[in-house]
């Protein structure tokens, strides 16, 4: 489902050059749920951004769902993100001006989809995360756990094959964190491929496989 070959990414600022990813080969099969672990600054977020086509690698090849990414033309990557990928972030990144319903609808408004179908999909997604009773709330009116559940609903409303979650439990206490991961596990059991960055060993162990990064390299 995800295939990275010889991917390198260098960040250059005026003072220093950081090799965030160093010649990485990374494969994830369809239906896998894997954890990415590693110390801070080792390149985990960079890896997810590159998988999600939010960032362009300096070298290497990417394939998502057997489609090689040949160009980073804005329109093409936008379309691939929209169809294939759902993002979940540590600090939720819900749009604060929009209520839960509108936030969850976000991936769908960038498709040609009739309003009735969008409504159906949004309601379905909110059901999956148990948030139907909060759909007209604004992010500021939700708890952290509810925010992350709304964010998960947004990530799945477009029915993506891949979910990329960057420390989805990082801002939540461990009980809520477990709930969130169990929602992800549930989605995974229905076929969604998931890559999750986490610092939590317990959570990582509950996934199929753990990949460790160190200084931009895969280890173990």
């Amino acid at each position: 489902m995800i295939k990275l070959e010889k991917i390198s990414k260098v960040y250059r600022t005026r003072e220093i050059e950081t090799l965030a990813l160093d010649n990485i080969n990374f494969y994830v099969k369809e239906g896998e749920f894997i954890s990415v672990m590693g110390p801070s600054g080792c390149g985990k977020s960079t890896l997810l951004n590159i998988i999600g086509l939010l960032d362009e690698p300096d070298n290497g090849k990417i394939e998502l769902d057997n489609l090689p990414v040949t160009s980073y033309e804005d329109k093409k990557t936008a379309r691939m993100r929209n169809q294939l990928v759902g993002f979940i972030f540590q600090s939720f990144h819900l749009i604060k001006e929009l209520n839960v319903y509108d936030n969850v609808e976000l991936p769908l408004i960038y498709r040609n989809m009739p309003a009735s179908e969008r409504k159906l999909r949004v309601t379905e997604s909110l059901e999956k995360v148990g948030l139907t009773n909060r759909m007209s709330h604004y992010p500021s009116q939700l708890s952290g756990g509810q925010c992350q559940r709304a964010a998960i609903a947004r990530a799945v409303s477009g029915n993506p094959k891949i979910i990329l979650a960057d420390e989805p439990t990082g801002n939540l206490d461990s009980k809520i964190g477990h709930e969130v991961v169990s929602i992800l596990a549930d989605l995974n059991s229905k076929g969604t491929t998931i890559v999750m960055v986490t610092h939590d060993d317990m959570l990582a162990k509950s996934t199929h496989r753990i990949v460790r990064l160190f200084d931009g390299r895969l280890v173990g």
Binding site: L54, D74, R79, S91, H93, L94, E97, D102, P107
Partner: protein, 424 residues
């Protein structure tokens, strides 16, 4: 999608009240000024009464002479209305116009009546004046061409002047009215000209030939305005060419001075030139300056809004990054931002139009227009669809102008920068 944009627009506008205020302020004010300005122009230029139909009329009301003594810098110059001799013997004979009239326009006339100080206006005209301007005669008739040539002691007065001198008396034709040392016989009574008139002004009218010409034989300066009427505006060019040719001949014959004729100008042109140097105006620099000023005035709020937009790009960073992650292409984000911006400017425009209503309604009387020496006309709201449409189109252009560059910058932002794991 549009609904989504609209919600965002409202939320962002309401959450950042200061920004919203600053954005709307400039645009509303500009649109308000443009509306009021256009009302003023239309009030002055859409003539009423005798000036009802001036669209085929052009005016010459300024002559400029400059010293051209050889070997010396050109310093001395004078500008004034046209002299009587140059008007009578040259300009009035312009063949390209159907009617040419010369008149002094409203001149102050002060007198004491029954112990009371009065200030009225007198206007010395030719006979063509009555043909060119559309006065409504309540009784009697205008003085004729022959009467003007012969210097007949005749006068046309307005209804209000009649009432001042004769009260309720019905028939005043043949009665005498005194102007300085002249005893004038009333031949006609006309309805008072509209207060906003600029040429057809006056309470007392009499043939200019009644006063002796005191001009020096080589003088070009005087107190006359010439009005040329054609069948349509196409005749203006010929009129202009012919008058300028006449003046050019005078200019060539005069060794010590350069002579320059301003115009012929339309009513609006005359107004725009005002008391500015007619020579400069004819070169178009006044018009150019005015247009430049107007452009700057109109562009100012757009530039202001653009600066505000640039300053605020980072505030929108997170939202843009999120939208990008979920599949918004840059082009889509640009249209979202432009859409919001145009909504903002249109809101500003509508507020401006409402403000102009209010201002004119509340302050109309104190905003009276000093259209000529004798009358102040209160400004009234005149809804001009053309200006209304132009204002809204201007707002649309503001929106595009001030939104376009910021939108490009915004849509190119790297989403990864705004999606860092930690709290923002």
């Amino acid at each position: 999608m549009i609904k989504n944009y609209f919600k965002i627009f409202l939320k962002v506008a309401l959450q950042n009240k200061l920004f919203t205020f600053l954005s709307l302020f400039g645009i509303s004010l500009t649109i308000m000024f443009v509306m009021i300005f256009s009302m003023t122009i239309s009030k002055i230029t859409t003539g009423s009464g005798p000036e009802k139909d001036l669209k085929d009329v052009v005016f010459c009301d300024r002559i400029k002479t400059k010293q051209t003594i050889k070997g010396k810098a050109n310093n001395g110059y004078s500008v004034s209305s046209c002299g009587r001799r140059v008007s009578e013997t040259y300009l009035k004979k312009t063949k390209s116009a159907d009617i040419v009239s010369m008149y002094t326009g409203a001149m102050p006339w002060e007198f004491i009546l029954d112990g009371k100080y009065q200030k009225r206006a007198q206007n010395q005209t030719d006979a063509e004046y009555w043909e060119l301007f559309d006065y409504k005669f309540l009784s009697g008739r205008p003085y004729t061409y022959e009467e003007v040539t012969n210097g007949a002691n005749l006068a046309v007065i307005t209804k209000s002047l009649k009432e001042l001198f004769f009260g309720n008396e019905e028939n005043v034709l043949g009665k005498i009215i005194h102007y300085t040392s002249l005893d004038l016989i009333i031949t006609g009574v006309v309805e008072d000209p509209s207060k906003s008139a600029q040429n057809a002004v006056g309470d007392l009218y009499f043939p200019y030939t009644l006063l002796k010409n005191t001009e020096a034989p080589d003088d070009y300066m005087g107190g006359f305005t010439l009005a040329f009427k054609g069948k349509d505006t196409k005749q203006f060019k010929a009129i202009s060419d012919e008058t300028h040719e006449m003046i050019a001949r005078l200019d060539a014959a005069d060794t010590s001075r350069a002579i320059f004729l301003s115009g012929p100008l339309t009513q609006l042109g005359k107004m725009m030139r005002g008391y500015g140097d007619p020579e400069e105006y004819s070169k178009g620099s006044t018009l150019f300056k005015f247009l430049l000023f107007a452009l700057a005035f109109i562009l100012l709020p757009a530039v202001n809004l653009m600066a505000l937009n640039f300053a605020r790009i980072h505030e929108r960073g997170e939202e843009i990054a999120v939208r990008k992650s979920f599949g918004a292409a840059s082009r889509v984000l640009r249209s979202q931002f432009l859409f919001e911006n145009i909504l903002m400017t249109l809101t500003g425009g509508v507020i401006g139009i409402i403000l102009s209503f209010l201002v004119v309604d509340l302050l109309g009387n104190s905003l009276s227009l000093n259209v000529n020496y004798f009358s102040n006309v209160p400004l009234t709201f005149s809804f001009n669809y053309l200006v209304f449409a132009a204002s809204l189109i201007a707002c649309l252009i503001f929106g595009l102008l001030s939104g376009y560059l910021p939108a490009i910058r915004l849509s190119r932002m790297k989403p990864a920068l705004y999606l860092k794991g930690g709290e923002l």
